[in-house]
């Protein structure tokens, strides 16, 4: 690490020089030989650039919203690889595959490189001045309530500036949309615990019972939870943690469970009530109203409804009673139904009955600066914007960090409704499906070229503000950072208030220095403080703890398991995979070629069918299956997957792009498109698991492109991947 006593901006200018030189002479296929390019000597190297020596700069991963702090390896002005920052309480030096691929977001050949103005069905490159002038012109005479922002999750100073810009426009219409988001759970947690996202201490639990929470894959803060999980497996007081996963389709977390319980889709809440009942039978004292509420859920009925054997239920209750503390988690598999809130309430009740609140589930800290605290997305926001568009209430729509044309169910007709706005501006990295519908596309810097701050929703210790700083000079001169654009836009409206800030960097630095006393000793020299912040890449502030309450609510209305629809006999489970999530990173080839952990399939979509069901239907691996819902049909290759309920089929989300770039377009299918329009009764969230489908063979068969060999995951008696039963090992003796 280089000392901090130099001017970083000068340094970056210097780096830019180095970067340009290396772009010519770096490894790869240069055309130096044919004289098209020149080799620049390093004999007089730029200051702070020692050829051949890597330096590491801390920044923040922006591949998801978990806020992992990263350390980028920079050599000769190029960022080469990202490592985790060991000082970050969120990721402690570790990363996930999605985060590793951040460099492919930055170096992606399909990034938008200049502002594009719609001209017929093509985009015409224009200057930034013209783009800003155009926005001003289009906003002229439009009242604030006709201007909407539809964004993904935002936090930090980008959010603060966005708020200021909206205020200057007189608009209150900021809608935050995330296609895959634990929004139902947040509402349920608010009711049960008095906060949306408490801290979960998997590492302190002896038993974790997870209702479909894929905390090792894509749920909330997977790198953090993976580390907790490793501690949990090593054991609390020498006793190895036991993971029981309840879901209808096996997730990565389910694949790591000691016991994976397959349930009939939608009956997670019934099972939770059944476990409380069984705990009562096993001798755990229940309060009178809880006992009354779970009385109807005796083990025979629960077993009949859920498909979980009475024996498993009794064993599970005994385990939970014996080994405390435990922790009960819930994820999308339990939330995604019309009664998702009720499922969540039942599962939270189980946590409370087990006495985990305050032990393995603790109060999280509140972000002390509300203007930079994260605004978390949900799907209800999409519904509202869609309705406003349909009613012609939106004249100008800005989209940022979200791709609703790709992720909205086709039945919502979002794409058509988008046409009703007069002027659509997309802040975009790629020409994705939404950007293609825009009138004006503003190209964004990559996360590795931009300044910013990010505050994660899930905070494991106090509050960590993750600082984002450029790891190298811009690749494309005509891209801009989101903060930079917002500053320019807000300057249009209020030039006086913002004239002190030449650029977003100046704004950010001033904003941070203003709160210096909150972060450090206020007597500290400004430059020392600021350089320290950039060097660390993170700021930790204590933050007061939210008040944890444990309010028992026994008013839980769980519907009987859904009868099988004669026309559409299968439940469609759109699965969220760790690498592709909602599809925003599908154009990163490492992610496309990284095999799905469970099926090992690459570069394509597939539909998971239980082998028994497939045999009934005469389906074999590679058969192209038409999956038809009320709202459309998609075709995907069949994969026979033992980890799924026979009445369900599953298709992963994230693929099936019609635009975006060379590595995304045309690979796979998009299950978002055929989702039924069913919403959770309480929160209005899209019920992702409520879609019913039927299957038919289209008479074509392909070879499934996958990593698993012809043995199909069998070891044929060889000792390759071995397992021991916990009573055969003594973990306390291990190093």
């Amino acid at each position: 690490m280089i000392d901090n006593n130099f001017d970083r901006r000068d340094f970056l200018k210097v780096l830019g020089w180095g970067g340009a030189a290396v772009a010519l002479s770096g490894c790869g296929n240069t055309s130096v030989e044919d004289g098209k390019e020149t080799v620049v000597s390093y004999v007089e190297a730029a200051e702070y650039v020692a050829p051949g020596i890597s330096v590491y700069f801390n920044s923040t991963c922006a591949q998801c919203d978990a806020g992992c702090s990263i350390s980028g390896r920079v050599r000769e002005g190029r960022v080469l690889k990202l490592e985790g920052n060991p000082d970050s309480v969120i990721n402690r030096g570790k990363m996930c595959g999605l985060g590793q691929a951040g460099v492919q977001h930055h170096y992606n050949p399909d990034r938008v490189r200049e502002p594009l103005l719609r001209s017929g069905d093509r985009g015409e490159a224009i200057t930034w001045d013209k783009a800003y002038a155009l926005i001003a012109e289009k906003l002229n005479g439009v009242s604030g309530d006709q201007i909407d922002f539809l964004t993904g999750t935002v936090s930090g100073h980008t959010k603060a500036l966005l708020g200021n810009y909206l205020e200057s426009l007189g608009s209150k219409n900021h809608f935050v949309y995330e296609a895959v988001s634990p929004a139902v759970q947040r509402a349920a947690n608010m009711k049960s615990y008095g906060m949306e996202m408490p801290r979960f201490n998997i590492n302190k639990a002896k038993v974790v019972l997870s209702f479909g929470a894929d905390f090792l894959g894509a749920w909330v803060s997977p790198v953090h939870f993976s580390q907790q999980y490793a501690e949990f497996r090593k054991g609390v007081d020498g006793q190895r943690g036991v993971l029981v996963q309840v879901e209808s389709k096996m997730t990565l977390t389910g694949a790591n469970a000691d016991r994976w319980l397959v349930v009939r889709p939608g009956t997670e809440g019934i099972l939770a009530m059944g476990v409380i009942n069984a705990l009562g039978v096993a001798g755990l004292s229940l309060s009178a109203d809880v006992a009354a509420a779970v009385k109807p859920y005796d083990k025979e009925r629960v077993s009949k409804d859920t498909g979980v054997s009475t024996e498993s239920l009794v064993k599970l209750a005994a385990l939970l009673k014996d080994r405390t503390p435990s922790l009960v988690l819930l994820g999308s598999a339990a939330e995604g139904y019309a009664h998702g809130s009720q499922n969540a309430a039942a599962i939270n009740l189980l946590n409370q009955v087990l006495g985990n609140v305050g032990k393995t589930l603790e109060a999280s800290a509140a972000v002390p600066f509300p203007q930079i605290a994260p605004t978390i997305g949900n799907t209800a926001a999409l519904r509202m914007v869609n309705n406003r568009l349909a009613d012609g209430q939106i004249k100008v729509l800005f989209t940022y960090g979200t791709n609703p044309v790709f992720t909205a169910p086709s039945e919502m007709k979002f794409k058509e409704n988008l046409g009703k706005a007069n002027f659509r501006v997309a802040f975009a990295h790629y020409l994705d499906e939404t950007a293609l519908q825009a009138d004006l596309v503003l190209p964004l810097d990559s996360a590795l070229e931009d300044w910013g701050t990010l505050v994660a929703e899930y905070q494991p210790e106090g509050v960590q503000i993750s600082v984002q700083q450029p790891l190298m000079e811009k690749l494309h001169p005509e891209t801009r950072g989101m903060g930079e654009i917002l500053l320019s836009l807000v300057k249009q409206r209020q030039p006086e208030s913002y004239k002190a800030f030449d650029d977003y960097y100046a704004y950010l630095r001033t904003a941070m220095l203003k709160n210096k006393s909150e972060f450090a000793n206020s007597a500290m020299d400004d430059d020392v403080f600021w350089n320290g912040v950039l060097s660390a890449g993170i700021i930790n502030v204590g933050g007061n703890l939210n008040k944890l309450s444990s309010k028992l609510s026994t008013n839980i209305q769980l519907p009987a398991p859904a009868e099988q629809d004669a026309k559409y006999p299968f439940t469609l489970i759109p699965s969220v995979t760790a690498n592709l999530r909602d599809g925003r990173h599908a154009n990163q080839p490492w992610l496309q070629e990284s095999p799905d952990p469970l099926t090992t399939i690459v570069w394509d979509s597939w539909v998971e069918i239980h082998p028994k069901k497939a045999a009934e239907l005469g389906i074999v691996e590679g058969d192209i299956i038409a999956i038809e819902s009320k709202n459309g049909t998609i075709n995907a290759q069949a994969y026979l997957f033992p980890g799924i309920h026979p009445d369900a089929v599953s298709i992963p989300l994230g693929r099936g792009h019609e635009a975006m770039g060379r590595y995304a377009k045309g690979y796979g299918v998009n299950p978002f498109q055929i989702l039924d329009r069913v919403f959770d009764g309480e929160t209005g969230e899209l019920a992702m698991h409520e879609t019913k489908v039927k299957l038919s063979k289209v008479g074509k068969r392909v070879i499934v492109v996958k990593d698993e060999g012809f043995a199909g995951g069998a070891q044929h008696g060889k000792k390759i991947a071995m397992t021991k039963s916990s009573d055969q090992v003594d973990l306390s003796e291990e190093v």
């Binding site: 290396v22 772009a23 490894c27 790869g28 296929n29 051949g52 690889k81 985790g84 030096g93 990363m95 996930c96 595959g97 590793q100 691929a101 492919q104 930055h106 170096y107 992606n108 050949p109 090792l216 894959g217 993976s226 490793a230 497996r233 190895r240 036991v242 029981v244 996963q245 096996m250 990565l252 694949a255 469970a257 000691d258 016991r259 064993k315 760790a578 690498n579 080839p589 490492w590 070629e593 952990p597 090992t600 033992p642 980890g643 060379r662 590595y663 690979y667 070879i703 698993e708 995951g713 069998a714 000792k719 390759i720 991947a721 071995m722 397992t723 021991k724 090992v729 003796e733 190093v735």
Partner: protein, 284 residues
């Protein structure tokens, strides 16, 4: 080492591994992978792509088995015939086991793959003639052949993406075999750095890319002959001997309660990677 020298003194080169009379000094690089911690998330594999300039081959070439992932996660289902895999799947990170008596080394017609003094199975790209005999002889199937000239293949490294390439590592051309190196570039850089201080590497000073990224810390890498190293302590606690083709503990009647084992040990490649068995709870 010229080829003629190699051929003339073949017996001697072969003799050094693995025996006690010529101990590794000062390094013997080895690994330990805890399958109970491994979640199968694939972060290691992607980190390996990032570190080692591994080409993305695309769907068609993947279908033909031409994928280049040095580090892959194998997924196994239980074979007990039950309707559902109700104890989950088993994930196994598989890469070159850096065998002490590597079956690939003996068959290379040009000595392109051979053993280093610090116990690595090295691959010399510019000596390789692409006979692929090594890959055929590898019991772990962890050697990957360049069927194409990936640096000039469309969309493997388009213009901007070449800037991400790690300059510490060469790009491999068509007709060359490649495989996991235990991130030898990191080891060599580390050795050079501490040489100036007149000492050898301490435990933790060199991490492989897969170890560094692993969110559950399932991978331990280090110097097996350094008693202070974690990997040494783990191998010792698990009673796994590098030079054995059957471990003493496995000869005991009724088996052992230790989790350490090496894959295909009975073939006598003497792998440098010890795995620790996955554990599943008996009470549920």
């Amino acid at each position: 080492m010229s080829v003629s020298n190699l051929l003339e003194n073949w017996a001697e080169f072969r003799h050094t591994h693995p025996v006690d009379d010529v101990p590794h000094d000062p390094y013997k690089w080895a690994m330990s992978i805890d399958l109970d911690a491994c979640s199968g998330c694939n972060a290691c594999s992607i980190a390996c792509y990032a570190e080692n300039n591994i080409p993305v081959v695309g769907k068609d070439k993947f279908e033909h088995g031409q994928v280049m992932h040095w580090m892959r996660i194998e997924r196994y289902w239980p074979e007990d015939g039950r309707e559902f895999p109700d104890q989950g799947a088993t994930f196994l990170p598989m890469m070159c086991q850096q065998c002490e008596a590597a079956p690939c080394e003996t068959v290379c017609p040009v000595g392109a793959t051979n053993h280093t003094a610090d116990g690595l199975n090295s691959q010399i790209y510019n000596r390789c003639v692409g006979s692929r005999y090594c890959s055929a002889n590898c019991p772990f199937k962890v050697r990957y052949f360049n069927w194409y000239d990936y640096p000039t293949t469309e969309n493997v490294w388009p213009a901007e993406m070449t800037q991400q390439l790690n300059p510490d590592i060469t790009l491999r051309g068509k007709g060359v075999m490649e495989k996991c190196t235990f991130c030898v570039q990191r080891i060599r850089a580390g050795e050079r750095a501490v040489k100036n201080e007149g000492r050898i590497l301490r435990d933790g000073e060199v991490q492989t890319a897969c170890q560094q990224v692993c969110p559950t810390g399932a991978i331990t890498f280090g110097n097996l002959v350094d008693p202070e190293s974690k990997v040494h302590q783990k191998w010792k606690a698990q009673q796994v001997e590098l030079t054995a083709d059957e471990q003493e503990k496995d000869k005991e009647e009724g088996g052992t309660d230790l989790r350490g084992y090496r894959i295909l040990e009975e073939l006598r490649p003497y792998p440098s990677v010890m795995y620790m068995e996955r554990v599943r709870e008996s009470a549920i």
